[in-house]
């Protein structure tokens, strides 16, 4: 064993354990973050299920026979709110009109001949009675397919009560006001999920790379004692700020490209497992962003990145060394992590107003919100995000530029005893 190793290791452990920044960043923050994340996921499942159960269902009875009455009665017996429409021919306009009139997202059509097919089934089990389910695809949350699966569950319950496999459902999805026959909302949700996971995670990694690099680069100048010299050079101090921000963006982008390449490989492998028959073309269904959408998304990502970097630079300017800077910026991570991961599981449009406001207020939510909104063609949400994040960035940049223009860049330090910020008594010779 190396001489003095044990002694030195003990000293290091003591220093780390006694450093409140390490304690907060490494232990307290995760202890808070993961229960919050767990709570969000639990809430997401609960609300999705509640919504699906509470959701009203329009039943269009074009059969008006005995068995259709029995089926409707069965649904009502399960406490499902059912609005019955008799003898209504369903086309694109009629479906949208009914959905709008009853303010719901699901229609179950009982076609003509339903009762006859059920009756025949008892003598010939090959004959089955079909139902047609129309589900509206509103958002891209993980639990968007819950509505479709609840209807499947209702049909299964009826089958169990009457006869196995007597009923089956044909699915149609209403996407952006158009009915796509033969498309199950659950399948679409599944495919969108693969996209809506890939993007938030990539954004998450990108932001974290950038923040880490920006924070380290400023702290490095302090730690290596090069900042003082730099500040006396005939250069614009904002050039230092922008130089740090730009280099961080470039390096982070390179890192992100490498990461995305690796991630797309993993995603490609996963998609290869999807049966060919289910290989839906999302572009044909209008579920990929337009060029304008991609532009908006890129702009959102850029302003968000700038806001994160400016925040990281200004925070790290209070640090004396690289380690302190990394601890400081770790306080930004929950703000990056939580929206990215939570919005994988949640559709922001289904959240209560207050919670929605919280997500909108966090600038780092917007790339994820935008990535989903552009798919659904909701450009106003994206534009709002860009305006908001730009305003936030401008405020932070203004503060950062003011900060860089004064002696505070050299003297300000954040002390953790009572979290009091004060101007430093310079530790070196005065």
């Amino acid at each position: 064993m190396l001489k003095g190793f044990g002694n030195f290791l003990l000293k290091e452990l003591k220093e780390l354990a006694r450093d409140p920044k390490i304690l907060l960043g490494m232990i307290v923050v995760p202890l808070i973050m993961f229960p919050v994340l767990g709570g969000i996921m639990g809430y997401a499942v609960q609300t999705a299920q509640e919504q699906a159960i509470k959701a009203s269902l329009i039943v269009v009875d074009n059969d008006c026979g005995n068995w259709s009455s029995v089926f409707i009665g069965f649904l009502k017996g399960l406490n499902v709110t059912v609005y019955v429409e008799n003898n209504t021919k369903l086309d694109n306009e009629k479906v949208l009109e009914l959905l709008s009139r009853y303010n719901t997202t699901q229609i179950l059509e009982i076609p003509e001949g339903f009762s006859q097919n059920v009756t025949v089934h008892f003598s010939n089990s090959n004959v089955k009675a079909s139902l047609r389910f129309y589900g509206v695809l509103r958002g891209t949350g993980v639990f968007e397919s819950v509505g479709s699966s609840v209807v499947d569950a209702l049909i299964n319950q009826f089958n169990r009560a009457v006869a196995p496999d007597i009923l089956y459902s044909e699915k149609a999805t209403v996407i952006k006001g158009e009915i796509k026959y033969g498309v199950d909302p659950a399948t679409i949700s599944g495919l969108l999920m693969s996209q809506s996971i890939a993007l938030p995670i990539t954004i998450l990694i990108l932001l974290m790379y950038a923040v880490q690099i920006a924070a380290t680069s400023v702290a490095m100048e302090k730690e290596e004692k090069t900042l003082e010299t730099l500040l006396t050079l005939p250069m614009d101090r904002l050039a230092i700020l922008w130089g740090k921000l730009s280099s961080s963006i470039i390096v982070a982008a390179v890192g992100a490209i490498a990461y995305m390449a690796g991630y797309s490989y993993v995603l490609g492998s996963a998609m290869a497992g999807i049966p060919v028959g289910l290989n839906l073309d999302l572009a044909a269904l209008g579920l990929t962003p337009s060029v304008f959408g991609y532009l908006l998304l890129g702009l959102t990502l850029f302003v968000t990145m700038l806001s994160a970097l400016a925040l990281a630079v200004i925070m790290s300017a209070f640090a004396e060394d690289v380690r302190s800077a990394q601890s400081f910026v770790s306080y930004i991570y929950p703000l990056i992590f939580l929206p990215s991961i939570a919005l994988i599981y949640l559709d922001i449009n289904t959240l209560p107003f207050a919670l929605r406001l919280v997500f909108y207020a966090i600038p780092f939510s917007h790339p994820v919100i935008a990535s989903k909104a552009v798919i659904m063609g909701d450009y106003w949400t994206v534009v709002f995000g860009i305006v908001y994040v730009s305003a936030f960035t401008l405020v932070v940049m203004y503060a950062a530029s003011k900060f860089f223009a004064t002696e505070k860049i050299l003297t300000a330090k954040l002390k953790f005893k009572g979290l009091k910020r004060r101007e430093a008594k310079p530790t070196e010779e005065i």
Binding site: E224, E228, E428
Partner: protein, 245 residues
């Protein structure tokens, strides 16, 4: 606007929280003069140099460099000064040559001028082929020689050197002192320096200011001060003055 002084510090105070780092410090430096600030630890030497080099703002009082106010005309002042902090570092992942190039480009008007500055610095530092190495591989002495060369290659009107031979051995200190002397002689550079090394101060400075607790307690040429206080060297003067103060 008077430009007869290279530096004109008048009643300068600097307060950090409850600490008065400078307490009404006044001094003047003539163009082409080497002026030394000496004093015990915590006397306010570094704070004074940082104010002159536009890094810190005085709480009250004023400092002018060649007639330019360091607060109002900070950007102009930065064009004519060169500051060497006491424990300055170089960028670890740049070679010595790259570091000098990086620094030269801030002051040079064109590429040729920058190249000339770097060649000059290479000669001053005496680092030779080692300039091709990354600075993280440099010893403390090599790094200091690089930084002194950086500060002087710009041929500034005012060089502000905080402990220029800090941490250097006898040979390297001698080398750095000779560089400074030669530069002042050849290029008429004004130098404001601080040092703990009395031999260095005596050897280099035309005039010195002894400061204690942020105040100027004695000022004059080293020989004058020795005579005035009846001492054989500046170290004795220093001890006597600080004790009296």
């Amino acid at each position: 606007m008077s430009t007869s002084w290279a530096i004109e510090a008048s009643e300068v105070t600097k307060v950090f929280g409850s600490i008065h780092a400078l307490d009404g410090l006044s001094f003047t430096v003539k163009p082409g003069e080497v002026y030394g600030l000496i004093g015990p630890n915590g006397a306010g030497k570094t704070t004074a140099l940082r104010i002159v080099s536009t890094l810190l703002l005085p709480t009250s009082g004023s400092v002018k460099v060649f007639g330019l106010d360091v607060v109002q005309k900070a950007a102009e002042v930065r064009k004519i000064i060169s500051y060497l902090p006491e424990d300055a570092g170089a960028y670890r992942y740049l070679s010595g040559w790259e570091y000098l190039e990086f620094m030269a480009k801030f002051n040079a008007q064109n590429r040729e001028e920058a190249c000339a500055m770097v060649r000059e610095a290479a000669e001053i530092s005496g680092l030779g082929d080692r300039l091709k190495d990354k600075t993280k591989a440099y010893s403390k002495g090599m790094k200091r020689r690089l930084l002194v060369a950086r500060a002087l290659m710009l041929k500034p009107k005012l060089a502000i050197l905080d402990e220029p031979t800090s941490g250097l051995d006898v040979i390297h200190s001698y080398h750095v002192r000779e560089i400074i002397k030669r530069y002042v002689r050849e290029h008429g550079v004004t130098v404001l320096l601080s040092s703990h090394n009395m031999l260095e101060v005596e050897h280099l400075c035309d005039r010195v200011a002894l400061i204690n607790k942020g105040k100027l307690v004695a000022e004059g040429a080293p020989r004058e001060l020795k005579e005035k206080f009846g001492c054989t060297n500046l170290e004795e003067v220093f001890a006597k003055v600080v004790k009296i103060a």
